[in-house]
Amino acid sequence: MAEAIKLQEFTCDFKDEVANRIPEANFDLCLTCGTCTGGCPASEQYGMDPRKFLRMLLLGMDDEIKKSPWAWVCTMCGRCMSACPMKINIPKFVYNVRASWDRDKRPKGIRGSCDQHIKAGNAMGVPKEDFVFTVEDVANEIREASPEFSDLEITADRVGAYMALNQNSREPVTEPDELGPLWKILHRAKADWTYPTVMWGGENYCMFLADDEGWRYIMEEFVYHIEHNLKCKVVVNTE
Protein backbone atom coordinates (compact mmCIF):
# COMPACT_ATOMS: atom_id res chain seq x y z
CA MET A 1 0.00 0.00 0.00
CA ALA A 2 1.20 3.47 -0.80
CA GLU A 3 2.51 5.42 2.13
CA ALA A 4 1.00 8.79 3.01
CA ILE A 5 3.30 11.78 2.49
CA LYS A 6 4.23 13.30 5.85
CA LEU A 7 4.41 17.00 5.10
CA GLN A 8 6.09 18.14 8.30
CA GLU A 9 9.18 16.22 7.23
CA PHE A 10 9.66 18.38 4.21
CA THR A 11 11.24 21.71 3.58
CA CYS A 12 11.11 23.20 0.10
CA ASP A 13 14.81 23.86 -0.43
CA PHE A 14 14.89 22.82 -4.05
CA LYS A 15 11.78 24.85 -4.88
CA ASP A 16 13.36 27.97 -3.33
CA GLU A 17 16.60 27.31 -5.16
CA VAL A 18 14.94 26.93 -8.57
CA ALA A 19 12.51 29.80 -7.99
CA ASN A 20 15.47 32.05 -7.24
CA ARG A 21 16.98 31.13 -10.57
CA ILE A 22 13.73 31.58 -12.50
CA PRO A 23 11.70 34.24 -10.68
CA GLU A 24 9.04 34.27 -13.42
CA ALA A 25 8.36 30.52 -13.08
CA ASN A 26 5.28 31.00 -10.83
CA PHE A 27 5.46 27.56 -9.19
CA ASP A 28 3.12 28.56 -6.35
CA LEU A 29 0.34 29.43 -8.77
CA CYS A 30 -0.31 25.78 -9.76
CA LEU A 31 -4.04 25.06 -9.61
CA THR A 32 -3.49 21.29 -9.88
CA CYS A 33 -5.86 21.26 -12.87
CA GLY A 34 -3.75 18.73 -14.78
CA THR A 35 -3.99 20.43 -18.18
CA CYS A 36 -0.21 20.04 -18.44
CA THR A 37 -0.44 16.30 -17.91
CA GLY A 38 -3.42 15.77 -20.21
CA GLY A 39 -1.44 17.03 -23.19
CA CYS A 40 1.98 15.64 -22.37
CA PRO A 41 3.27 12.61 -24.31
CA ALA A 42 5.72 11.88 -21.47
CA SER A 43 2.90 11.44 -18.95
CA GLU A 44 2.91 8.04 -17.23
CA GLN A 45 6.48 7.23 -18.19
CA TYR A 46 8.26 6.00 -15.05
CA GLY A 47 4.95 6.62 -13.25
CA MET A 48 5.47 10.36 -13.57
CA ASP A 49 3.79 13.33 -15.25
CA PRO A 50 4.27 17.13 -15.22
CA ARG A 51 1.65 17.83 -12.57
CA LYS A 52 2.97 15.16 -10.23
CA PHE A 53 6.54 16.40 -10.75
CA LEU A 54 5.51 19.96 -9.94
CA ARG A 55 3.44 18.92 -6.91
CA MET A 56 6.48 17.06 -5.61
CA LEU A 57 8.48 20.27 -5.91
CA LEU A 58 5.83 22.20 -4.00
CA LEU A 59 5.67 19.53 -1.30
CA GLY A 60 9.42 19.56 -0.91
CA MET A 61 10.02 15.99 -2.10
CA ASP A 62 13.44 17.06 -3.27
CA ASP A 63 15.21 13.71 -3.14
CA GLU A 64 12.49 11.91 -5.07
CA ILE A 65 12.53 14.60 -7.77
CA LYS A 66 16.27 14.44 -8.18
CA LYS A 67 16.27 10.64 -8.25
CA SER A 68 13.57 10.32 -10.91
CA PRO A 69 14.86 9.58 -14.42
CA TRP A 70 11.75 11.35 -15.75
CA ALA A 71 13.64 14.64 -16.18
CA TRP A 72 15.48 12.88 -19.04
CA VAL A 73 12.30 11.48 -20.64
CA CYS A 74 10.56 14.86 -20.76
CA THR A 75 11.89 16.67 -23.84
CA MET A 76 11.22 20.16 -22.46
CA CYS A 77 9.00 20.74 -25.50
CA GLY A 78 6.99 23.39 -23.67
CA ARG A 79 3.49 22.12 -24.45
CA CYS A 80 2.61 21.94 -20.73
CA MET A 81 3.56 25.55 -20.17
CA SER A 82 1.75 26.82 -23.22
CA ALA A 83 -1.45 25.04 -22.07
CA CYS A 84 -1.08 26.02 -18.40
CA PRO A 85 -3.66 28.64 -17.33
CA MET A 86 -1.05 30.07 -14.94
CA LYS A 87 1.84 29.83 -17.42
CA ILE A 88 4.06 27.92 -15.01
CA ASN A 89 7.47 27.30 -16.50
CA ILE A 90 7.67 23.53 -16.15
CA PRO A 91 10.35 23.12 -18.88
CA LYS A 92 12.75 25.35 -16.96
CA PHE A 93 11.96 23.42 -13.80
CA VAL A 94 12.92 20.21 -15.61
CA TYR A 95 16.07 21.89 -16.95
CA ASN A 96 17.03 22.74 -13.38
CA VAL A 97 16.35 19.17 -12.23
CA ARG A 98 18.74 17.98 -14.93
CA ALA A 99 21.27 20.54 -13.77
CA SER A 100 20.96 19.26 -10.20
CA TRP A 101 22.40 15.87 -11.23
CA ASP A 102 26.14 15.39 -10.83
CA ARG A 103 27.56 16.01 -14.25
CA ASP A 104 29.08 12.54 -14.48
CA LYS A 105 25.76 10.91 -13.56
CA ARG A 106 23.86 12.59 -16.40
CA PRO A 107 23.18 10.40 -19.50
CA LYS A 108 26.45 9.39 -21.10
CA GLY A 109 25.29 9.93 -24.68
CA ILE A 110 24.22 13.51 -24.08
CA ARG A 111 27.28 14.27 -21.97
CA GLY A 112 29.62 12.84 -24.60
CA SER A 113 28.05 14.96 -27.32
CA CYS A 114 28.29 18.09 -25.17
CA ASP A 115 31.95 17.38 -24.40
CA GLN A 116 32.73 16.85 -28.07
CA HIS A 117 30.99 20.10 -28.96
CA ILE A 118 33.06 22.05 -26.45
CA LYS A 119 36.25 20.42 -27.75
CA ALA A 120 35.66 20.23 -31.51
CA GLY A 121 32.79 22.60 -32.23
CA ASN A 122 30.25 19.88 -33.04
CA ALA A 123 28.58 16.99 -31.23
CA MET A 124 30.14 14.31 -33.46
CA GLY A 125 33.61 15.54 -32.55
CA VAL A 126 34.68 16.00 -36.17
CA PRO A 127 37.96 17.89 -36.49
CA LYS A 128 37.61 21.12 -38.48
CA GLU A 129 39.90 19.81 -41.24
CA ASP A 130 37.77 16.71 -41.74
CA PHE A 131 34.63 18.81 -42.01
CA VAL A 132 36.21 21.05 -44.64
CA PHE A 133 37.57 17.99 -46.50
CA THR A 134 34.16 16.26 -46.58
CA VAL A 135 32.46 19.42 -47.80
CA GLU A 136 34.97 19.86 -50.62
CA ASP A 137 34.74 16.17 -51.53
CA VAL A 138 30.94 16.20 -51.81
CA ALA A 139 31.01 19.51 -53.70
CA ASN A 140 33.46 17.98 -56.19
CA GLU A 141 31.16 15.04 -56.82
CA ILE A 142 28.22 17.36 -57.49
CA ARG A 143 30.27 19.55 -59.86
CA GLU A 144 31.28 16.47 -61.83
CA ALA A 145 27.85 14.80 -61.84
CA SER A 146 25.72 17.77 -62.87
CA PRO A 147 26.80 20.33 -65.46
CA GLU A 148 24.28 22.85 -64.14
CA PHE A 149 26.17 22.91 -60.84
CA SER A 150 29.67 22.95 -62.36
CA ASP A 151 30.24 26.37 -60.79
CA LEU A 152 29.06 25.28 -57.33
CA GLU A 153 31.35 26.83 -54.77
CA ILE A 154 31.20 25.96 -51.07
CA THR A 155 33.35 28.06 -48.78
CA ALA A 156 34.39 27.84 -45.15
CA ASP A 157 35.22 30.90 -43.06
CA ARG A 158 34.82 33.29 -45.99
CA VAL A 159 35.12 36.76 -44.47
CA GLY A 160 32.31 39.12 -45.39
CA ALA A 161 29.87 36.47 -46.61
CA TYR A 162 26.34 37.75 -46.04
CA MET A 163 25.18 34.58 -44.30
CA ALA A 164 26.81 32.02 -42.04
CA LEU A 165 25.14 28.59 -42.02
CA ASN A 166 25.32 26.07 -39.23
CA GLN A 167 24.95 22.38 -40.05
CA ASN A 168 23.91 19.41 -37.96
CA SER A 169 27.18 17.48 -37.67
CA ARG A 170 25.47 14.14 -38.30
CA GLU A 171 25.10 15.16 -41.94
CA PRO A 172 28.77 15.46 -42.90
CA VAL A 173 29.60 12.39 -40.79
CA THR A 174 26.84 9.86 -41.30
CA GLU A 175 25.09 11.03 -44.45
CA PRO A 176 27.27 13.45 -46.43
CA ASP A 177 25.08 13.07 -49.51
CA GLU A 178 22.39 15.01 -47.62
CA LEU A 179 24.54 18.15 -47.86
CA GLY A 180 24.04 18.37 -51.62
CA PRO A 181 20.33 19.21 -51.81
CA LEU A 182 20.75 22.11 -49.38
CA TRP A 183 23.65 23.53 -51.40
CA LYS A 184 21.73 23.16 -54.65
CA ILE A 185 18.86 25.23 -53.25
CA LEU A 186 21.28 27.91 -52.03
CA HIS A 187 23.00 27.88 -55.42
CA ARG A 188 19.68 28.33 -57.24
CA ALA A 189 18.79 31.19 -54.89
CA LYS A 190 22.23 32.76 -55.53
CA ALA A 191 22.76 33.00 -51.79
CA ASP A 192 25.98 34.56 -50.50
CA TRP A 193 26.93 32.20 -47.68
CA THR A 194 29.74 30.38 -45.90
CA TYR A 195 30.26 27.72 -43.23
CA PRO A 196 31.92 28.98 -40.06
CA THR A 197 34.45 26.41 -38.78
CA VAL A 198 34.17 27.48 -35.14
CA MET A 199 31.25 25.87 -33.25
CA TRP A 200 29.68 25.00 -36.60
CA GLY A 201 27.44 22.17 -35.35
CA GLY A 202 23.79 23.14 -35.46
CA GLU A 203 22.95 20.87 -32.53
CA ASN A 204 23.27 21.84 -28.88
CA TYR A 205 23.74 18.94 -26.49
CA CYS A 206 25.11 21.12 -23.69
CA MET A 207 21.68 22.70 -23.51
CA PHE A 208 20.13 19.22 -23.24
CA LEU A 209 22.72 18.25 -20.63
CA ALA A 210 21.80 21.40 -18.67
CA ASP A 211 25.48 22.36 -18.70
CA ASP A 212 25.19 26.13 -18.42
CA GLU A 213 28.89 26.74 -18.54
CA GLY A 214 29.42 24.59 -21.63
CA TRP A 215 26.42 26.08 -23.39
CA ARG A 216 27.59 29.62 -22.69
CA TYR A 217 31.13 28.84 -23.86
CA ILE A 218 29.85 27.44 -27.18
CA MET A 219 27.64 30.47 -27.78
CA GLU A 220 30.37 32.96 -26.90
CA GLU A 221 32.94 31.32 -29.17
CA PHE A 222 30.43 31.14 -32.00
CA VAL A 223 29.24 34.73 -31.67
CA TYR A 224 32.84 36.00 -31.46
CA HIS A 225 33.80 34.15 -34.63
CA ILE A 226 30.83 35.49 -36.58
CA GLU A 227 31.05 39.07 -35.26
CA HIS A 228 34.79 39.63 -35.21
CA ASN A 229 36.21 37.28 -37.81
CA LEU A 230 33.60 36.63 -40.48
CA LYS A 231 31.42 39.72 -40.05
CA CYS A 232 28.32 38.01 -41.41
CA LYS A 233 25.03 39.89 -41.28
CA VAL A 234 22.82 36.84 -40.85
CA VAL A 235 23.24 33.49 -39.14
CA VAL A 236 21.05 30.78 -40.63
CA ASN A 237 19.91 27.77 -38.71
CA THR A 238 19.51 24.94 -41.22
CA GLU A 239 17.09 22.89 -39.14
Binding site: R79, G109, A145, E220
Partner: protein, 185 residues
Protein backbone atom coordinates in the same frame (compact mmCIF):
# COMPACT_ATOMS: atom_id res chain seq x y z
CA UNK B 1 22.41 34.25 -26.98
CA UNK B 2 19.40 35.79 -25.32
CA UNK B 3 19.85 33.51 -22.33
CA UNK B 4 23.40 34.67 -21.74
CA UNK B 5 23.00 38.25 -22.97
CA UNK B 6 25.78 37.82 -25.50
CA UNK B 7 25.78 41.00 -27.57
CA UNK B 8 25.67 40.51 -31.32
CA UNK B 9 24.70 42.52 -34.38
CA UNK B 10 23.84 39.69 -36.78
CA UNK B 11 20.31 38.53 -37.34
CA UNK B 12 19.32 34.94 -36.61
CA UNK B 13 17.09 33.23 -39.16
CA UNK B 14 15.70 29.83 -39.97
CA UNK B 15 16.46 28.45 -43.43
CA UNK B 16 12.71 27.83 -43.74
CA UNK B 17 12.02 31.58 -43.64
CA UNK B 18 14.54 32.01 -46.44
CA UNK B 19 13.05 29.21 -48.57
CA UNK B 20 9.63 30.88 -48.23
CA UNK B 21 11.01 34.33 -49.01
CA UNK B 22 12.90 33.08 -52.07
CA UNK B 23 9.86 31.25 -53.42
CA UNK B 24 7.64 34.32 -52.87
CA UNK B 25 9.98 36.77 -54.56
CA UNK B 26 10.67 34.38 -57.44
CA UNK B 27 14.36 33.80 -56.65
CA UNK B 28 13.68 30.13 -56.18
CA UNK B 29 11.55 28.68 -58.93
CA UNK B 30 9.59 25.70 -57.75
CA UNK B 31 6.26 24.16 -58.62
CA UNK B 32 4.19 21.13 -57.78
CA UNK B 33 3.31 20.01 -61.33
CA UNK B 34 5.30 16.81 -60.85
CA UNK B 35 2.74 15.66 -58.25
CA UNK B 36 -0.41 16.74 -60.12
CA UNK B 37 -1.19 13.27 -61.41
CA UNK B 38 0.77 11.23 -58.89
CA UNK B 39 -1.18 12.82 -56.00
CA UNK B 40 1.27 11.56 -53.37
CA UNK B 41 0.27 12.79 -49.93
CA UNK B 42 2.63 14.62 -47.60
CA UNK B 43 2.40 15.76 -44.01
CA UNK B 44 4.83 17.82 -42.01
CA UNK B 45 6.33 17.61 -38.52
CA UNK B 46 6.54 20.97 -36.72
CA UNK B 47 9.79 21.12 -34.76
CA UNK B 48 9.01 22.55 -31.29
CA UNK B 49 12.00 24.87 -31.56
CA UNK B 50 10.59 26.82 -34.51
CA UNK B 51 6.95 26.57 -33.46
CA UNK B 52 5.85 26.79 -29.87
CA UNK B 53 9.23 27.82 -28.52
CA UNK B 54 9.49 31.04 -30.53
CA UNK B 55 6.01 32.12 -29.48
CA UNK B 56 4.65 32.65 -32.99
CA UNK B 57 3.51 30.48 -35.88
CA UNK B 58 5.48 32.58 -38.36
CA UNK B 59 8.08 29.96 -39.27
CA UNK B 60 5.77 26.94 -39.17
CA UNK B 61 3.39 28.84 -41.46
CA UNK B 62 6.33 29.47 -43.80
CA UNK B 63 7.02 25.74 -43.61
CA UNK B 64 3.49 24.99 -44.84
CA UNK B 65 3.83 27.57 -47.59
CA UNK B 66 7.03 25.92 -48.84
CA UNK B 67 5.69 22.38 -48.60
CA UNK B 68 2.46 23.27 -50.42
CA UNK B 69 4.45 25.04 -53.13
CA UNK B 70 6.46 21.89 -53.84
CA UNK B 71 3.92 19.09 -53.35
CA UNK B 72 0.67 20.88 -54.22
CA UNK B 73 -1.84 22.26 -51.75
CA UNK B 74 -4.28 19.39 -52.40
CA UNK B 75 -1.58 16.86 -51.56
CA UNK B 76 -0.74 18.29 -48.17
CA UNK B 77 -2.45 16.79 -45.10
CA UNK B 78 -1.89 18.48 -41.76
CA UNK B 79 -1.66 16.58 -38.49
CA UNK B 80 -4.01 17.58 -35.69
CA UNK B 81 -3.06 19.36 -33.45
CA UNK B 82 -0.34 21.23 -35.27
CA UNK B 83 1.91 24.28 -35.42
CA UNK B 84 2.47 25.86 -31.96
CA UNK B 85 0.11 23.30 -30.43
CA UNK B 86 1.89 20.30 -31.97
CA UNK B 87 3.09 17.28 -30.06
CA UNK B 88 6.83 16.93 -29.71
CA UNK B 89 7.99 13.84 -31.63
CA UNK B 90 9.86 12.65 -28.56
CA UNK B 91 13.32 13.01 -30.09
CA UNK B 92 13.98 16.43 -28.56
CA UNK B 93 15.83 17.46 -25.44
CA UNK B 94 18.59 14.97 -26.14
CA UNK B 95 16.19 12.01 -25.82
CA UNK B 96 17.75 10.19 -28.77
CA UNK B 97 20.98 9.98 -26.81
CA UNK B 98 19.48 9.96 -23.34
CA UNK B 99 19.38 6.18 -23.01
CA UNK B 100 15.70 5.73 -22.04
CA UNK B 101 14.81 4.07 -25.32
CA UNK B 102 11.63 2.31 -24.24
CA UNK B 103 10.22 5.51 -22.75
CA UNK B 104 11.28 7.55 -25.78
CA UNK B 105 9.38 5.21 -28.06
CA UNK B 106 6.29 5.20 -25.82
CA UNK B 107 6.44 9.02 -25.93
CA UNK B 108 6.69 8.95 -29.72
CA UNK B 109 3.63 6.72 -30.08
CA UNK B 110 1.45 9.84 -29.85
CA UNK B 111 3.23 11.28 -32.88
CA UNK B 112 3.21 7.96 -34.72
CA UNK B 113 -0.58 7.68 -34.36
CA UNK B 114 -0.99 11.27 -35.54
CA UNK B 115 1.05 10.52 -38.66
CA UNK B 116 -0.86 7.34 -39.45
CA UNK B 117 -4.12 9.27 -39.04
CA UNK B 118 -3.14 11.65 -41.88
CA UNK B 119 -2.75 8.74 -44.29
CA UNK B 120 0.27 10.54 -45.75
CA UNK B 121 2.97 8.49 -47.41
CA UNK B 122 5.69 11.00 -46.56
CA UNK B 123 6.48 12.98 -43.42
CA UNK B 124 8.64 16.03 -44.02
CA UNK B 125 10.86 16.75 -41.02
CA UNK B 126 12.94 19.92 -41.23
CA UNK B 127 14.81 19.09 -37.99
CA UNK B 128 17.43 16.36 -37.78
CA UNK B 129 16.29 15.10 -34.36
CA UNK B 130 12.67 14.86 -35.49
CA UNK B 131 13.85 13.03 -38.61
CA UNK B 132 15.73 10.41 -36.63
CA UNK B 133 12.94 9.91 -34.10
CA UNK B 134 10.10 9.72 -36.65
CA UNK B 135 12.04 7.28 -38.78
CA UNK B 136 12.73 5.13 -35.72
CA UNK B 137 9.01 5.21 -34.82
CA UNK B 138 8.17 3.95 -38.30
CA UNK B 139 10.48 0.95 -37.97
CA UNK B 140 9.51 0.24 -34.38
CA UNK B 141 5.73 0.41 -34.79
CA UNK B 142 5.67 -0.94 -38.33
CA UNK B 143 4.49 2.17 -40.17
CA UNK B 144 4.53 2.46 -43.93
CA UNK B 145 5.49 6.11 -44.33
CA UNK B 146 8.82 7.60 -45.36
CA UNK B 147 10.62 10.35 -43.49
CA UNK B 148 12.13 13.14 -45.58
CA UNK B 149 14.40 16.10 -45.02
CA UNK B 150 12.76 19.25 -46.41
CA UNK B 151 15.59 19.92 -48.87
CA UNK B 152 15.01 16.54 -50.53
CA UNK B 153 11.52 17.36 -51.68
CA UNK B 154 12.41 20.92 -52.73
CA UNK B 155 15.18 19.57 -54.96
CA UNK B 156 12.92 16.83 -56.31
CA UNK B 157 10.36 19.49 -57.28
CA UNK B 158 13.09 21.56 -58.95
CA UNK B 159 14.26 18.49 -60.84
CA UNK B 160 17.78 18.67 -59.42
CA UNK B 161 17.78 15.81 -56.92
CA UNK B 162 20.80 13.62 -57.65
CA UNK B 163 20.83 9.84 -57.76
CA UNK B 164 22.74 9.55 -54.49
CA UNK B 165 20.50 12.04 -52.65
CA UNK B 166 17.45 9.75 -52.49
CA UNK B 167 18.11 7.58 -49.43
CA UNK B 168 14.81 8.49 -47.77
CA UNK B 169 12.50 8.37 -50.77
CA UNK B 170 10.15 5.42 -51.16
CA UNK B 171 10.16 3.15 -54.25
CA UNK B 172 7.48 5.37 -55.86
CA UNK B 173 9.86 8.31 -56.10
CA UNK B 174 13.26 6.63 -55.95
CA UNK B 175 13.90 7.11 -59.64
CA UNK B 176 11.52 9.97 -60.31
CA UNK B 177 13.07 12.59 -62.57
CA UNK B 178 16.21 10.57 -63.30
CA UNK B 179 17.02 9.61 -66.86
CA UNK B 180 18.12 6.08 -67.70
CA UNK B 181 21.79 6.88 -67.29
CA UNK B 182 21.15 7.98 -63.75
CA UNK B 183 21.64 11.66 -64.49
CA UNK B 184 19.06 14.34 -63.86
CA UNK B 185 16.59 14.91 -66.68
Amino acid sequence: MRKYNIPHTFEFKSIIELYAQWIKDGTLKVNSDWNKDLKIKFTVQDPCNIGRKIGTNKIVDDLRFVVKAVVGEENFVDMVPNRSNNYCCGGGGGALQGGHTEQRRAYGKVKFDQIIETGAKYVITPCHNCHAQIEDMCHHYGGNYHTLHLWTIICLAMGVLGENERTYLGPDLAEFGLDIEGGIQ
